[in-house]
């Protein structure tokens, strides 16, 4: 049973990184799809009731990850709370709009954005942003629907990441024994050929030793 749990744990530890990559790929595609300067995903953090930048493509990619804003302020907060998508373009004269504090911190002040809620079943899990499209590109209802469809994919990525993190938290919370086993299984999984055979042999010896 412990081996099975360890195997599951190893899967969890490995999948968090895979899910993060999937989410990153999602924002990269969103950016390309709409020819935008940047695209980002906010994850809703239930514990702190905040929105956290989880993946960023383009402008701000190196500085925004991990930045937090209150869950019901700014445009992203409005989108999360009201479940309504929005497009804003040519915002003028306003230093506070759309998470202006973040813009100040990064030095990147977007002129326009599209934002859609990421809904998993009936729960909003985050917000997908597409920032600064080409000036000549007018945003049509068709594009909003396209973004809505795309949001489903992003929501699933985000939900998988959330689940992997929760699973890891459970493992870590369950005591160091299981965590140690999970790491051992993961290490073993990374070995190949003779090294792997040796590793398995070592474990068998350890098992016999422990049984005595």
């Amino acid at each position: 049973m412990a081996e099975l749990e360890a195997a599951v744990a190893a899967g969890v530890l490995a999948s968090e990184e895979a899910h993060r990559q999937l989410l990153q790929a999602t924002v990269e595609v969103a950016r390309g799809l709409f020819s935008a300067k940047a695209s980002s995903v906010f994850l809703y953090d239930e514990e702190t009731d905040e929105l956290v930048f989880e993946a960023v493509a383009g402008e701000g990619a190196d500085t925004l990850i991990g930045q937090r804003i209150p869950s019901s302020t700014g445009i992203a907060g409005w989108v999360l709370v009201t479940r309504q998508p929005i497009v804003l373009e040519d915002v003028t004269q306003d230093p506070r709009w759309g998470g202006g504090e973040i813009a100040e911190q990064t030095g990147y002040v977007p002129k326009g954005l599209m934002a859609v809620p990421l809904l998993h079943q009936e729960d909003p899990v985050g917000v997908l942003n597409v920032l600064d499209r080409p000036q000549e590109a007018r945003f049509t209802l068709e594009e909003m629907e396209l973004l809505g469809l795309f949001a489903n994919q992003a929501a699933i990525s985000l939900d998988l990441l959330r689940k992997a993190r929760r699973a890891r938290a459970v493992l870590e919370g369950s005591g160091s024994d299981l965590e140690a086993l999970a790491r051992l299984a993961r290490s073993l999984d990374q070995l190949e050929g003779k090294e792997r055979e040796a590793g398995i042999e070592l474990l068998r010896s350890l098992e016999s030793l422990l049984k005595r």
Binding site: D49, P70, T73, Q84, E89, T92, Q93, F139
Partner: protein, 279 residues
């Protein structure tokens, strides 16, 4: 019966119409045989109509919004809802944008802000429901709801409040969702649900015979009021909704006696794809 003493009026807890009582059902508005937009809202500025913007607040003193009647914020603590005076204005700009759209079409209506944002996401469904309940109790003629919730646990309670509003002559104008998801309250038949069309004309709106969304109003590339006294161009059903709210305000400014049922019927008759004359 005619020579006898009039029978004392009885208050029976039943919903029926006794013989001879039909004349007591007053329907004050006499509708013309051919309803026109001129008859529906010609000359109206929305004066005398109280419109509530249930949203992120309204920025005070914004030139595109002007004076507002008042502003409250809905706060949630341990599932308890408190409604307090709001001094923070608008927390993201959206409520101001909605207020500005209503003002641009119905310049003399009264605008009141009920802010349901700012309490954090966790309490947002409770704040939305609490804010809507409060607004219905205040007797606003129109409540603009450019928002919805996907939480089915709130659906039943929202439905009750929407029906209560309908019977109290408070019209709820609610944004349909731009995405293929279940959300509320726009799906209820007691509200006026609004999606977007792409035309430029502010009072162009269309009746949709294939509900749940019943009307389409202007919602693409709209010039709106934004924070800091500024403006922005925006797109979304949440901006189509205040266009419909404003048209309702114009109609109620001229025909204040209309029930929500009659108002919706008049919207149907004056919709751009139904009415047979220009505005």
């Amino acid at each position: 019966m005619s020579n006898a003493e009039p029978a004392p009026k009885r208050q029976l807890p039943a919903w029926s119409l006794p013989a001879g009582a039909a004349e007591s059902l007053e329907v004050p508005t006499v509708w013309p045989s051919r309803v026109t937009r001129e008859w529906a809202w010609g000359g109206s500025t929305g004066k005398g109509v109280r419109v509530c913007i249930l949203d992120s607040g309204i920025e005070l003193g914004h030139p595109l919004v002007g004076e507002i009647e008042g502003a409250v914020a809905v706060q949630v603590e341990d599932d308890e809802v408190n409604v307090v005076e709001d001094t923070e204005g608008d927390l993201c700009g959206h409520g101001t944008a909605c207020a500005g759209i209503v003002r641009s079409i119905a310049p003399d209506c009264s605008l009141f802000s009920v802010r349901v944002l700012g309490a954090g996401f966790t309490g947002s469904g409770t704040a939305l429901l609490g804010g809507l309940r409060w607004a219905v109790e205040q007797g606003f003629q129109i409540i603009n709801m450019s928002l919805s919730t996907t939480k089915s646990q709130f659906a039943g309670m929202l439905h009750e409040v929407a029906d209560a509003a309908y019977f109290r002559r408070t019209v709820l104008v609610a944004s349909a969702h731009n995405m293929p998801v279940e959300s509320y309250p726009w799906r209820f038949s007691s509200v006026i649900s609004v999606g977007s069309h792409e035309e430029k004309e502010p009072v162009a709106f269309f009746y949709n015979p294939s509900p749940p969304v019943e009307f389409f109003a202007r919602g693409v590339d709209v010039e709106v009021a934004w924070l800091g006294g500024g403006s922005a161009r925006s797109t979304g059903n949440s901006f189509a909704t205040p266009h419909m709210t404003a048209i309702c305000a114009l109609i109620l400014g001229k025909h204040s006696e209309l029930t929500p049922f009659q108002l919706k019927h008049l919207l149907y008759l004056t919709a751009s794809n139904v009415v047979d004359e220009d505005g």
